[in-house]
């Protein structure tokens, strides 16, 4: 849906990392490198970003 504000497991703020991650990965950078540089160390926070399906635009007209 929309990227969660925080990591479900540890509570680190991950929402702000997603737009940057999506932009850089779409430009061909390696997801591993981008996550390292954004500063997401733990695998709980990394899965929040890599497993996210951004579907908010699909439900926009239904508001």
């Amino acid at each position: 849906m929309i990227i969660p504000v925080r990591c479900f497991t540890c509570g680190k703020v991950v929402g702000s990392a997603y737009p940057e991650y999506a932009r850089r990965v779409s430009m061909g950078e390696s997801p591993e490198k981008v996550l390292d540089e954004i500063g997401l160390e733990r695998y709980c926070c990394r899965r929040m970003i890599i497993s996210h399906a951004d579907l908010i635009k699909e439900v926009l007209p239904l508001g």
Partner: protein, 275 residues
């Protein structure tokens, strides 16, 4: 108890505590997670109806997310907290009505199409109270959609809700003590370590370069059953690390956590004396 700082940043701390027990290390961990208060948004008012911009275009206050989901997302935003300025709302001089000593009010007025970010939350009064991380997406708005929200942040602790938890990834491990007994299979042992703790010198000697990175996994011991290296955890020293969400600095959090522990211990000993 002795503290040696390895890294003390604004949002990240890593340090060694010596001459202590697992109970003390765990008390510090629990205090950091649960007992250090911070500000978080607790009440959200949604204003419904339609509004018109300067060009006469009409916006309806509707959103693709349910109001309660938006309120929940607002609650999780990191609100900058100065612990010397704020008190708990129910213990405040205003008697729980809400005043500048216990409440921060934010307004959020935005019309689509756009992504509403945490930087769109405008604090009433001091602009330094803007949300710590400006780039968190709160919701998206389509054409003709708008939001008008007032949000009230109050002081609380994570005993009541995780939104008041400022620390994340709080953890500690026994201080690794690595003894090299022989360099016979140096390269093999250096390669077995997933954390790259060992180095092999030009003359083939096995050295311990980054002992603090060791996670006591015993991969190096398993190479030859402990012939070359011995790894044990020192049960009186701990490598401690945690991060904060930015609402409090790492240093403030440690000081506050220690204060909470000593206050708790004092209160406990007083109630024991009263028996």
């Amino acid at each position: 108890m002795e503290i040696e700082t390895i890294e003390m940043g604004e949002k990240k701390a890593r340090f060694v505590i010596r001459d202590t027990s697992p109970a003390m290390a765990n008390a510090l961990r629990r205090a950091l997670v649960n007992k250090v208060p911070k500000m978080a948004i607790d009440t959200v008012e949604f204003h419904l109806g339609s509004m018109r911009d300067e060009e006469g275009k009409e916006y309806e206050s509707k959103t693709p997310l349910f109001d309660e989901i938006i309120a929940h997302r607002l609650g999780l935003l990191p609100v900058p907290t100065d612990l010397s300025l704020y008190t708990y709302k129910d213990k405040c001089v205003c008697g729980g009505e809400g005043c500048p000593n216990c409440t921060i009010i934010y307004s959020l007025v935005k019309s689509g199409p756009c992504t509403v970010l945490s930087s769109d939350m405008v604090p009433l009064g001091d602009p330094n109270l803007a949300i710590c991380d400006p780039d968190i997406p709160i919701l998206e708005l389509g054409d003709g959609q708008s939001v008008m929200i007032y949000a009230h942040a109050v002081l609380g602790t994570a005993e009541n809700h995780a939104k008041w938890q400022a620390a994340s990834g709080v953890g500690y491990k026994y201080m690794p003590v690595i003894t090299v007994k022989s360099s016979k299979r140096a390269q093999e042992i250096a390669d077995s370590c997933p954390r790259g703790v060992f180095t092999v010198s030009a003359s083939g000697d096995l050295g311990v370069e980054k002992p603090l990175d060791c996670m006591l996994c015993d991969s190096c011991v398993e190479v030859d059953g402990g012939e070359s290296v011995e790894v044990v955890g020192d049960e009186t020293s701990f490598v401690f690390s945690f991060e904060t969400d930015g609402s409090l600095s790492a240093e403030t959090m440690i000081l506050k956590a220690c204060e909470v522990i000593s206050e708790g211990a004092k209160a406990f000993s007083e109630s024991v004396d009263a028996l």
